[in-house]
């Protein structure tokens, strides 16, 4: 199950195109790399950064402290600057100083800038000293310049005075102050006075001390080392005063340093640098992100490079495998697992396995086939040997039979065992020929098999029954390793001789044939002609071996070209021949088989004549039947003539009639006489016997003529005749009289059929039309009682009639006429609903009508 699914997977994988697979593998490797490297690298990076941060923090702390100390230093210089100012020197020389020195015990407080102080000077940046105190050389404060009243006792400050110019940060009432001591010298007295600047080290101070940098993430603060409470900070909003330093560990990295240079021994202030952890974290995050991006890029490059390399390699291998597989398929005919698309790499193992398997199977097949072929050859040979039409006998050197084939013992009537080991000549050769046979054997030892002495010698052989047979004997000597053997071939030629005799007798078939038989070659030369062809050759005026007249030569050529048998008619003076030209394509001959058809043609001619006479008789009969109607019709004008004439005579006798009247009557007589003449003319066309001939006429005209013939008859019978003639011309090539007679028969039958019907119901429709491009039709429809089914069967039988006076010849003759015209006559009738006769005639629409 798992093997199956794994192979299925493999197959699926193999179908994946190589670039895709390469990409897949590349991406997979990239991801693996990513997964492995990511945590390790991140951790290492974090460690690295942490160390770096700590180092940087130290540096920053030192920097801030140095800036702070530098600021303090500046304050010291401000102090010494003030103490060396000319105003203070001047003041020390003045009397006011000396008076106050001597008299007053209380220090003088100045609200305004005192005269010993440079009004704009005691300032650093925006920081101003809170108090400026001028002390005498006994360290008694003599004059104090203050913006605000002093919040503490001044005396306690003096314990910080060491007698040197120095700046000290001191905590007074838990508030840090900067005390700047500057000795003022006057004349020789080095220590004439001391100038003290008291500056609160507040938030502003701290901020100003760091004003050189804009690092907002770094804060500084002063902390009481004992209580770890914040005394002041550079940013009051973020770091509140009096808070405990430990509170800030969470959000800041702290570094505390002592400012020993600016502190008295007993003071314990710490200078603390706070760096915001957020900022640090952010930096780390930024860097990590950057590192990740770098890593991603690297991975991408890695994937691409890997994919490309993998693809190139595998494509190359795949390509090679495909080529080898194709080669295997084409050259060795062995199947190799090749996928049309996708890669071959995955199939490599299968491929190799299949290759070996097929190699082995191909080897086996080849071996089997060879063995099979060997076997077949053996079988074929033995079959050939046994079933050969020739008797084959193998003799050893002494003429003793070693092997015989089936034909041999069938021919001679012995069994195989009876023959082997015996002398052939004794067993099968006629005593008269034994000598010759022995001589043949001897001769053949030294002669090649093609020598005529060893081949086709006619001999008489004898069978077991003593029957003699003509055979053709051939001998081949076969020189084997140790001995010479003979193959004797005896061919029974008695059948062949019989066949020859038969062929000779067959030739008589043509030569003794009473009908002409000729053979003409492709050039029109008479190759053969039997005796009966003499009249034909007389007609053509040529002999055997001469060329036919051009017309016939062309017919022969076309028959050969088309390869079809055709028949032609030749009308000699006394005979008519039908000649069938039968091409024999492979020999390029045309055989002409003649047939005397004189009698047939004569009979046909007679039959035609008979038919023509029959039609005439038929017509006369029609005439007779129609005579009543005609007589009546003729009576009309004749009576009118008589009446007019009598009227004229009477008028003239009585002298009553006017001349114009008489003339008018005579004109009427003329008209009526013409009318009678017209009727008689029609009669004549109906009766007149025209020679039988085909002419092209318009079928519509034919129908019109017939309609005029039967007009009287139809009137007499009160039959309403309707003509529905097709608009176009319907050319037919017919014998007018005959086709007219057919129609007359049908129309008369129709009129007769309607005698039983009520006078108002008698309708006859004559319809013409084209059925197809090759056929036209005439329909004769009556409204008579129709034809019973039983009668319909016999309609066209001769002497079948339903009429009392009928001969029963009308329809049979009509049918014969239609057949002669290659037309059809058919009837359709439902008993009680009239009958429709249909005449169909062939019509070539391209024929032109004479006179049109």
């Amino acid at each position: 199950m798992s093997a199956l699914s794994s192979s299925k997977w493999q197959a699926k994988l193999a179908a994946v195109p190589l670039p895709a697979l390469s990409l897949l593998v590349g991406i997979l490797c990239g991801f693996l790399m990513w997964l492995v490297l990511e945590p390790i690298q991140d951790r290492r990076l974090a460690n690295l950064f942490h160390d770096e941060l700590v180092r940087r923090l130290d540096v920053r702390a030192v920097e801030t402290r140095q800036r702070f100390e530098h600021f303090l230093q500046e304050w010291r210089q401000v102090g010494s600057g003030l103490s060396n100012h000319w105003r203070i020197k001047n003041y020390l020389g003045s009397t006011a100083w000396h008076q106050s020195k001597n008299s007053a015990t209380q220090a003088i407080l100045h609200q305004q800038t005192p005269e010993w102080l440079d009004p704009g000077y005691p300032k650093l940046n925006s920081i101003e000293p809170k108090h400026v105190v001028l002390l005498d050389n006994r360290a008694t404060p003599r004059e104090i310049y203050q913006k605000q009243p002093l919040s503490f006792d001044l005396d306690q400050l003096f314990e910080f005075y060491s007698g040197r110019n120095e700046a000290l940060v001191t905590l007074i009432d838990q508030v840090p102050y900067l005390l700047v001591w500057s000795n003022v010298s006057y004349l020789e007295d080095d220590l004439a006075a001391v100038l003290l600047l008291i500056v609160p080290v507040d938030d502003q101070f701290l901020l100003e001390s760091q004003s050189m940098t804009n690092d907002s993430d770094t804060l500084i603060a002063l902390v009481d080392a004992n209580t770890l409470k914040l005394l002041s900070s550079s940013n009051r909003e973020m770091i509140a005063r009096d808070s405990h330093l430990n509170d800030w560990h969470e959000n800041y990295l702290l570094t505390s340093q002592a400012i020993t240079r600016f502190q008295s021994m007993e003071q314990s202030l710490l200078f603390t640098t706070l760096v915001s952890r957020d900022a640090v974290e952010k930096t780390i995050l930024n860097i990590t992100k950057l590192a990740q991006q770098d890593r991603f890029l690297a991975t991408l490059v890695y994937i691409i490079v890997f994919s490309v390399i993998f693809y190139l390699i595998s494509a190359k291998i795949s390509h090679v495998l495909v080529r080898i597989s194709r080669f295997g398929q084409q050259a060795l005919g062995i199947e190799q697992p090749v996928t049309k698309k996708g890669n071959q790499l995955l199939l490599l193992e299968d491929w190799v396995k299949a290759f070996f398997r097929q190699l082995i199977s191909a080897r086996d097949t080849l071996r089997n086939r060879q063995e099979e072929r060997l076997r077949e050859t053996e079988v074929l040979k033995s079959a050939l040997f046994d079933n050969s039409m020739v008797s084959i006998v193998t003799l050893n050197q002494e003429g003793i039979i070693v092997e015989v084939n089936g034909t041999a013992f069938k021919t001679f009537g012995y069994s195989r065992n009876q023959l082997i080991g015996r002398h052939l000549e004794e067993m099968a050769i006629h005593p008269n020929d034994r000598e010759r046979f022995r001589a043949m054997l001897t001769a053949c030892i030294s002669m090649p098999a093609s020598n005529s002495k060893c081949r086709g010698q006619a001999m008489q052989a004898v069978t077991v029954n003593g029957e003699e047979k003509s055979v053709e004997c051939s001998v081949i000597s076969i020189h084997l390793h140790q001995q010479t053997v003979f193959n004797v071939y005896l061919r029974d030629i008695s059948g062949q001789k019989q066949a020859q005799r038969e062929i000779t007798s067959l030739a008589k078939l043509a030569s003794e044939n009473p009908s002409p038989v000729l053979r003409i070659n492709k050039r029109g030369v008479i190759v053969y002609a039997n005796a009966a062809s003499e009249p034909l050759m007389g007609y053509w005026d040529c002999e055997r071996g001469q060329t036919l007249p051009l017309y016939w030569k062309n017919l022969v050529a076309s028959s050969l070209r088309e390869g079809t048998t055709k028949e032609y008619e030749v009308n000699l003076d006394s005979q008519i021949f039908s000649l069938q030209l039968a091409p024999i394509l492979e020999l390029e001959y045309v055989n002409i088989y003649g047939r005397d058809i004189t009698r047939i043609r004569m009979a046909e001619m007679q039959s035609r004549q008979h038919q023509s006479e029959l039609v005439h008789v038929c017509r006369l009969s029609t005439m007779g039947e129609m005579s009543t109607g005609l007589a009546h019709e003729l009576n009309q004008p004749l009576s009118a003539i008589v009446n007019f004439a009598s009227g004229c005579v009477r008028r003239m006798q009585s002298g009553k009639g006017g001349e114009p009247e008489i003339i008018d009557a005579i004109a009427q007589i003329t008209a009526q006489a013409e009318r009678a003449g017209e009727i008689i003319k029609r009669l004549r066309t109906l009766v007149g016997k025209r020679p039988q001939e085909h002419e092209v006429v318009n079928l519509n005209h034919l129908v019109l003529e017939v309609a005029s013939f039967i007009e009287f008859e139809a009137n007499r019978q009160n039959v309403e005749v309707t003509l529905e003639l097709s608009e176009g011309v319907l050319p037919v090539e017919v014998d007018l009289v005959q086709i007219e007679q057919v129609m007359l028969n049908l129309v008369r039958n129709a009129i007769d059929a309607m005698k039983q019907v009520d006078q108002n119901q008698r309708r006859l429709v004559l319809k013409t039309g084209r059925m197809s491009s090759r056929e036209v039709q005439v329909l004769v429809q009556d409204s008579g009682s129709g034809i019973p089914e039983q009668t319909q069967k016999h309609l066209f039988d001769a002497f079948f009639s339903t009429k009392k006076s009928g001969m029963g010849m009308g329809l049979p003759i009509s049918q014969k006429i239609m057949q002669d015209h290659k037309g059809v006559i058919e009837v359709e009738s439902e008993y009680g609903h009239g009958a429709t006769f249909r005449l169909v005639l062939p019509s070539d629409p391209t024929i032109e009508l004479p006179g049109f």
Binding site: N643, G647, V649, S654, Q668, Q672, R716
Partner: protein, 210 residues
Amino acid sequence: MSNRPTVFVVDDDQAMRNSLKWLIESVSMQVETFESANAFIQSYYPGRSGCLLLDVRMPGMSGLELQEYLQVNQIAIPVIIITGHGDVPMAVRAMKAGAVDFIEKPFNDELLLESIRHAMAVDAKQRDMQSQRAEIATRLARLTPREHEVMLMVTNGKANKEIATSLGVSSKTVEAHRARVMEKMEADSLAELVRMAINANLTLVETPEE
């Protein structure tokens, strides 16, 4: 329209009609022609004197059919049938149906005209008879029932006495009735009275013999 005797010619052939008209007019008779039986029926009204010259074979209503129609409608115009050659069976049928004559085409003019004259005479006679009958009928109408009875008996050859007995009156009374009948009927003689009675198809109501 004058009631001159007219020859009515019915034939579907125009030449035939024209020639007949021409021939008959030559003897100064009035001729009217019709191309079909229907045309004739539509224009003819009873009472017109004359005769009918009828072609037996015509499309539509044939000659025989027209004859039948005339009979059914009690139009007693004499009919001469014209037939074609060999239509003898048809002619026989026509004669049986009461035609006065039949003539075969083509006509002998004398024969035709003679036939027409004859037919005209028949017609005249018929008309005369008819007018007489009408006269007698008006006279009969003037008789009282008793006089009618007396007349019947008289014309049946009853003697006055017999009449008196059967009517139960005196001979004198019968005499008187008889004289009045003669007067009313405008009869000059008994023979005339009898003729009138026959003409009027009066039949005697037979009284049982005593």
